[in-house]
């Protein structure tokens, strides 16, 4: 299958390992990955901070860039959530019904990584090997906007060598929330503190999730406290094999101890 990668601006700029892992994983499964170079950012930060007018050109660019592809994947629940729920809204608010329709059409062909693997490609065992104790944080937008359910857990359970431990109070937000983390830094930090407490209680060496943004927040906190727990994107675990442990060694989210 020919799959277009919607890399997301954050993974492209700060966490390329998650994006590279997505490419390696899909190619290993026998698919062709293409990268439309005209893509930049989906505009979620603008929309969520109250700048829908400024987001409109980004929505238009995203729709134009991805319209030619049948299947689109992003290693982020949050950005896929934005494409599905916000793009048509931004277009409608600007009075552009045609763009809204095209945005809905692109959104229907856009999948978060675990959705693509389980629902479209029909695999749960991707042949990965990752011999570590791992806990999974279901990020809010994957959980409540996309309803990915247990798809990521089914994928993780099939990874050889992986010891999956349940995260207490998993469904509570980690406190990232985009610009919320800066505008309401104290509240965000209080939420982070509780999330870190739960992660540490699992005794896991690795905390994983489907969103680099939440992991950046969690990883930043875990690093500041020198906990030694690494944050690794789900794609990196699924891309890891006996031959190539892409997620081993240093913290791929770059905020390791």
């Amino acid at each position: 299958m020919r799959i277009a990668l919607f890399v997301t601006c954050l993974a492209d700029t700060m966490f390329p390992e998650a994006a590279k892992a997505t490419v390696r994983l899909l190619e290993r499964l026998g698919h062709e990955v293409v990268f439309p170079a005209e893509q930049t950012c989906c505009g979620q930060m603008h929309v969520n901070t109250g700048y829908q007018r400024e987001a409109l050109p980004l929505v238009r660019r995203h729709v134009r860039t991805f319209d030619p592809y049948d299947v689109i994947v992003a290693p982020s629940g949050s950005c896929v959530g934005s494409v599905r729920h916000q793009h048509p809204m931004v277009a409608r608010r600007a009075g552009d019904e045609r763009l809204a329709g095209r945005a809905e059409d692109v959104a229907r062909r856009t999948y978060e990584l675990s959705e693509l693997l389980v629902d479209v490609l029909g695999v749960t065992d991707v042949g990965a090997y990752f011999p570590h104790r791992v806990t999974y944080h279901p990020t809010c937008h994957s959980l409540r906007m996309l309803r990915v359910g247990d798809r990521p857990l089914r994928l993780l359970r099939a990874v050889r060598g992986l010891d999956l431990v349940a995260l207490p109070a998993a469904e509570q937000c980690c406190g990232f929330g985009g610009t919320f983390a800066v505008k309401n830094a104290d509240t965000s930090t209080a939420m982070l503190a509780d999330k870190m407490r739960h992660v540490l209680a699992t005794g896991a060496d690795v905390c994983t999730a489907g969103d680099a943004s939440c992991l950046m927040h969690l990883g930043g906190g875990l690093s500041r406290l020198r906990t030694g727990v690494r944050t690794v994107h789900l794609a990196e675990i699924l891309a890891a094999t006996e031959h190539r442990d892409t997620a081993d060694g240093r913290n791929r989210l770059g905020v390791g101890p």
Partner: protein, 476 residues
């Protein structure tokens, strides 16, 4: 169909009532977060209610359908609010009640004060009510020399403690029983100093105090959970029975009700009486449901006044997206599941409506400029939307309101620049390369200027990679 624009309806006036805080949410939250007792009390209480509510909701196989029905009824009500209110007025009047229309808090306070004065009473007993908290009725009555006595146990704790409510359903949620004992000893007349902090002992002294007040006060003031337009019937749901006392014992009953509380028929009540207790207190059915229609000779209050309160609600109604906030039935499920509320408590929101619903309702009632920080008091995690028994899409509303907030100039400039850059791939790539200069920000970003210090105070900043994804892709 032609439309005549008559101007925007007024928002709730400033200087009266409790819809505006004195400081921004982040500032108020900072102080609340520094109080470990508050966080413990809140964490314990919200976790308990959350579990209880989830368990009784799980019992109903048709919860999703009930929720959809609740939402549909409210949508219908808002679509024909004027006609339903006129019908309600006619039916209440027919049944011997008197209906008053209050455009705002000042109107409502004046109407109620005049009505109490006319009875000659210098004291009123009060049923727990959000509408009267919203308009600051207690302060207005006190200024007129009339003593308002809150009879809901938690509201009484708040009143005696000279405090503010911090939760819609559990106004004293921020207090534990040791603190409540101290408040009773200090402020309640005739309390034995040997009082313990056992819940039963605390309830017993409150009961003794309230019984005397119920039996010696001639006027009561209540809010309303629902009003049935079909028959002119008012409804109050509660747990303690103190509301029932207020609604039945006095000679005069004055009810202040937000105009969005009207429902068309009794059949519609069936839906809400199932939704509300399960979402709110986690009960299958609330212990007391009081309903009354006008006055009945020889039974209950012989004078009944209904004050219909707008106070910004018409302005909310005028916003096609924003109006769904008026669906709210004040269950507080969204507060109990909100990770922000759980940590900051209700006072940080500055308004009597705290939590996620407060963050979308208060700014709309006052106009967003007067509560500009509230739409940002959320990480947009979406737990509130899932919990809302009438399906209010609170995250959507928050984003909608953020778009209307007057933005700080520096932020607006940065956002415009980011938008411009991100719509030009060449510039975008240049900006990505500049991220590498982020190393100049010092190790782990600790040398960054404000507002980015908000991040680095508690979190290390990731190190920019050697190569962006698109550079790697181009070299493959």
């Amino acid at each position: 169909m032609s439309q005549v624009f008559l101007g925007m309806p007024a928002t709730a006036p400033a200087g009266v009532g409790h819809l505006r805080g004195t400081e921004s949410f982040p500032r108020a939250a900072r102080r609340a977060l520094a109080d470990p007792q508050l966080r413990r009390n809140l964490g314990h209480a919200t976790t308990t209610i959350r579990a209880k509510s989830a368990a009784v909701i799980d019992e109903l196989p048709d919860w999703a359908q009930l929720r959809a029905a609740g939402s549909a009824i409210k949508t219908d009500v808002l679509a024909r609010l004027p006609e339903l209110l006129v019908q309600l007025e006619a039916k209440v009047t027919e049944a011997g009640g008197v209906v008053h229309w209050a455009a705002d808090a000042n109107d409502a306070n004046r109407i109620v004060t005049d009505l109490v004065r006319a009875t000659g009473s210098d004291r009123v007993i009060k049923v727990k009510s959000m509408a009267t908290q919203e308009i600051g009725l207690n302060e207005a009555l006190a200024a007129a020399g009339i003593e308002p006595v809150e009879t809901d146990l938690a509201e009484l704790i708040v009143q005696l403690g000279d405090d503010r409510p911090s939760h819609i359903l559990v106004p004293a949620i921020h207090r534990n029983r040791a603190e409540i004992r101290e408040i009773f000893l200090r402020a309640m007349p005739g309390v034995d100093p040997a009082l313990t902090d056992e819940p039963a002992a605390l309830a017993a002294v409150a009961r003794r105090y309230l019984r005397q007040t119920f039996l010696s006060t001639r006027v009561a003031v209540s809010g309303a959970n629902f009003a049935v337009a079909q028959t002119g019937t008012l409804a109050v749901v509660e747990s303690e029975g103190n509301g029932r006392m207020c609604l039945t014992l006095p000679e005069t009953l004055i009810t202040v009700m937000g105009i969005e509380k009207v429902v068309p028929t009794w059949q519609d009540l069936e839906v809400f009486l199932q939704l509300l207790p399960r979402a709110s207190t986690g009960e299958r059915m609330n212990p007391y449901t009081s309903m009354w229609t006008g006055v009945t000779s020889g039974d209950g209050p012989q004078a009944f006044h209904l004050v219909l309160l707008d106070n910004g609600r018409s302005a909310v109604l005028a916003d096609r997206t924003g109006r769904q906030a008026l669906h709210c039935i004040r269950c507080s499920a969204c507060l109990n599941v909100c990770p922000v509320y759980e940590r900051t408590g209700g006072h940080a929101y500055g308004s009597v409506y705290p939590g996620p619903i407060g963050a979308v309702l208060s700014p709309q009632l006052t106009g967003v400029a007067d509560n500009a920080s509230l739409p940002y008091a959320s990480s947009l995690c979406g737990a509130c939307y899932d919990a809302c028994p009438v399906g209010i899409n609170i995250p959507e509303l928050l984003v909608h309101l953020r778009d209307q907030v007057p933005h700080p100039r520096a932020e607006a400039t940065a956002m415009a620049a980011a938008g411009y850059t991100m719509d030009r791939p060449r510039l975008y790539e240049a900006a990505q390369r500049a991220t590498r200069l982020g190393r100049l920000a010092g190790r782990r970003g600790r040398g960054l200027p404000p507002p980015l210090t908000g991040w680095t105070a508690s979190r290390d900043l990731p190190e920019p990679p050697e190569q962006t994804f698109r550079q790697w892709w181009a070299q493959r």
